[in-house]
C-alpha cells in the first residue's frame, strides 16, 4: 500500500527538475491551498494538482489520498456542523445538549465544511505529488549546503532504513534456524521471543553505527569543508517553472489584496463570482501553475522542444 507513496522514477520532466524549482513549485501549490478559502479557487487548484500528478504517472496511487480524505471529511463535517454557530441561515434546530448547547445546522456551516474537505484533498494531493516528484536524496543534497550535519544525519538514516528492515528479516531467520518459532507458545513466551529480537536488532544497529563512524573518520569527516561530487544543472525549463510559480504567487497576493480571490462564509455566504476579475485572476493563476505541466507535455511529445529546454 505504501509503495504508491514512494518515489518511482518514471522518466518524466517534473521528476528531473532542479530541486529548487521543484520545491518552489510544490511550496507555492501547498501555500496557495492554505491561503485560499474560495471554493472555485480550491477546485481549480485541485485540477492543476491532478494534472501534475498525471504528468508524473501517479494518478493510480492518488486513490489513497481520496480514501483518506473521505475518512477525515466525516470528522470535519461533523464538528463544523455541530459546534459552529456562526451561520445565519439555519435549516435545522436540534435538541439542547449539555456541553455543546443547542444543536443547529446552517447552510453556511455545510458549505464551509464541504470547502474544507476540498482543501484537505488539495493539501494531501500536493504532498502526494511531492512524494512522487522528488527523490529524498535530491532534497537532502540541496539542504546539505546549508545544514551539513543535519543533512548527514537524515541521509544516513534514510540509507539505514531499508537495511534495518532487511536486518529484521535476517535476524528472524537466524533465530528460527536456532529453533525459535515466533508463531508458537503462549502470549508471554512469544513476547519474550520478540523482546530478544528487538534487543538483537538494537545491538546490531548500534554496533554498525560505530563501524559507520569509523568509516566516516577514515574519510576525514569534519576535517574541513564538505566535498560535493554532484552538481545540479539549472536549465531553461527550471527557470520557466520557477518564474511561473513565483508569478502565480504574486498574482495570488494581488488577488487577495483586492479581494478578488477571497470568499466569506459567515454570517452569510458571499457571492461565488463577485465580479469578472474573480475569474480572470483564477485563470491567470491556473495557467501559471500549469506551466510545468505544459512544458512536461512538450518535453515528452516534441523532440525539438525537448532539445531546447
Amino acid at each position: 500500500m505504501w509503495v504508491s507513496f514512494q518515489y518511482q522514477d518514471n522518466r518524466r520532466l517534473l521528476q528531473h527538475l532542479h530541486p529548487v524549482a521543484a520545491l518552489v513549485y510544490l511550496g507555492v501549490l501547498g501555500g496557495l491551498t492554505l491561503v485560499f478559502a474560495h471554493p472555485l479557487y480550491l477546485l481549480g487548484l485541485l485540477v492543476v494538482i491532478l494534472l501534475a500528478i498525471q504528468a508524473v504517472d501517479g494518478l493510480k496511487g492518488w486513490e489513497l489520498c481520496l480514501k483518506f480524505t473521505l475518512g477525515m471529511s466525516l470528522l470535519i463535517l461533523l464538528i463544523n456542523l455541530l459546534v459552529v454557530r456562526a451561520g445565519e441561515t439555519v435549516i435545522w434546530w436540534g435538541p439542547r445538549l449539555p456541553v455543546l448547547g443547542e444543536l443547529t445546522i446552517s447552510v453556511e456551516a455545510i458549505c464551509y465544511a464541504a470547502t474544507m474537505c476540498v482543501r484537505l484533498l488539495d493539501i494531501l494531493s500536493v504532498f502526494y505529488l511531492f512524494n512522487r516528484m522528488l527523490h529524498p536524496d535530491q532534497v537532502l543534497r540541496l539542504f546539505s549546503r546549508f545544514a551539513a550535519q543535519s543533512a548527514l544525519v537524515l541521509s544516513l538514516s534514510t540509507r539505514m532504513f531499508p537495511f534495518l528492515l532487511r536486518e529484521v528479516h535476517n535476524l528472524q531467520e537466524v533465530l528460527s534456524i536456532r529453533g525459535v518459532d515466533f508463531r508458537k507458545g503462549t502470549g508471554k513466551e512469544r513476547l519474550q521471543k520478540y523482546l530478544s529480537l528487538f534487543n538483537l536488532l538494537l545491538l546490531n544497529a548500534l554496533e554498525n553505527s560505530l563501524e559507520t563512524a569509523e568509516a566516516m573518520q577514515a574519510r576525514a569527516f569534519a576535517s574541513g569543508p564538505r566535498s560535493r561530487y554532484r552538481k545540479e544543472v539549472f536549465r531553461p525549463r527550471d527557470f520557466l517553472c520557477l518564474t511561473g510559480s513565483l508569478l502565480a504567487l504574486f498574482v495570488t497576493i494581488y488577488g487577495q489584496i483586492y479581494n478578488y480571490s477571497t470568499f466569506h462564509f459567515y454570517p452569510q455566504l458571499g457571492y461565488l463570482i463577485s465580479n469578472t476579475m474573480t475569474l480572470v485572476v483564477l485563470g491567470i493563476i491556473l495557467v501559471l501553475l500549469s506551466l510545468p505541466i505544459i512544458i512536461s507535455w512538450g518535453w515528452q511529445h516534441c523532440p525539438y522542444f525537448n532539445a531546447r529546454i
Binding site: F5, Q6, I76, V84, F127, S157, L202, A213, E214, M216
Partner: protein, 220 residues
C-alpha cells in the same frame, strides 16, 4: 496601497492553518540551526542516525494499528540518555525518514515537532532531575501520548474549522481521545517491556561516545 497591504495582512491573520504551519517550520529550522552550531563527532552522528532509524523502522510493523507505535518511547529514552539536542534530532529525523517510506503529508512537520520535543524534554528532565527513575519516565511516556495527539490536532483544528473556539478544539480532541489513549497506553507498555534493557544498552553505548585522547611523549 500600504493600507491595502495592511488590510491584507490583517485579513491573513485569522488564517491560522497557514500561520501555524509557518510557525512550526520556523521553529524546526531554528532547532536544526542550533544543532548545526554544535561540533559533533562522527560517532555521535552515526549513533543519532541509527537510533532515528530504529525509531522510524519500528513504525512499520505497527502501521496498521491506530496510534500504537514504539517510536515515542525510543525517542524519549534516546533524549534521556544522550541529551536534549540528540533527543530532538532522533525524534524529528525518525518522523521525516519514516514518512519518506510511509508517505509525507501535512502531518510531517507536526510529527517532527511532537517527537522532537519529546526527545528534547526527556533530555531536559535528565539534566533537571538526574535521579529520575523508571516511574518518572513511565509517567512522561504516558502523558506524551496525549500531548502528541493534541499537537497533531492543533493543525487540523486551525486549518479546517472556523471560527475557532474552545468548544471546537475540545470536540477535535474528543474525536481523537481513544487514539491518544491507545498511544499513551502503548508507550507505557513498550517502556515496561523494552525500556529497562534499552536504557542499559544505550547507556553503555553513550559511554563509548566519550573518547579520551592520551598524548604519548617519548623521552629523549
Amino acid at each position: 496601497m500600504p493600507e491595502k497591504i495592511i488590510s491584507f495582512l490583517l485579513q491573513l491573520r485569522p488564517d491560522w492553518g497557514l500561520l501555524s504551519m509557518g510557525i512550526i517550520m520556523v521553529a524546526l529550522v531554528l532547532f536544526y540551526w542550533r544543532f548545526e552550531r554544535y561540533s559533533i563527532t562522527a560517532r555521535e552522528v552515526a549513533l543519532i542516525a541509527a537510533l532515528a532509524t530504529i525509531a522510524a523502522v519500528s513504525r512499520i510493523p505497527f502501521a496498521p494499528l491506530p496510534s500504537i507505535q514504539p517510536t515515542t518511547f525510543i525517542v524519549i529514552i534516546s533524549g534521556f540518555v544522550l541529551g536534549p539536542p540528540a533527543g530532538f534530532m532522533v525524534g524529528s529525523t525518525a518522523a521525516l525518514v519514516s514518512n519518506f517510506f510511509l508517505g509525507q503529508g501535512p502531518w510531517t512537520p507536526w510529527q517532527m515537532w511532537g517527537w522532537g520535543l519529546a526527545g528534547l524534554l526527556a533530555g531536559f528532565i535528565k539534566i533537571t532531575f538526574p535521579n529520575t527513575g523508571s516511574r518518572g519516565l513511565l509517567i512522561f511516556c504516558f502523558f506524551w501520548g496525549y500531548i502528541f495527539g493534541w499537537t497533531m490536532n492543533l493543525w487540523s483544528w486551525m486549518a479546517f474549522f472556523h471560527p475557532l473556539s474552545w468548544t471546537s478544539f475540545i470536540a477535535t480532541c474528543a474525536a481523537s481521545f481513544w487514539f491518544d489513549t491507545l498511544h499513551a497506553v502503548g508507550n507505557v507498555a513498550f517502556y515496561w517491556l523494552f525500556g529497562p534493557t534499552f536504557l542499559k544498552i544505550l547507556r553503555r553505548y553513550s559511554r563509548k561516545l566519550r573518547v579520551r585522547q592520551i598524548l604519548w611523549v617519548e623521552e629523549g
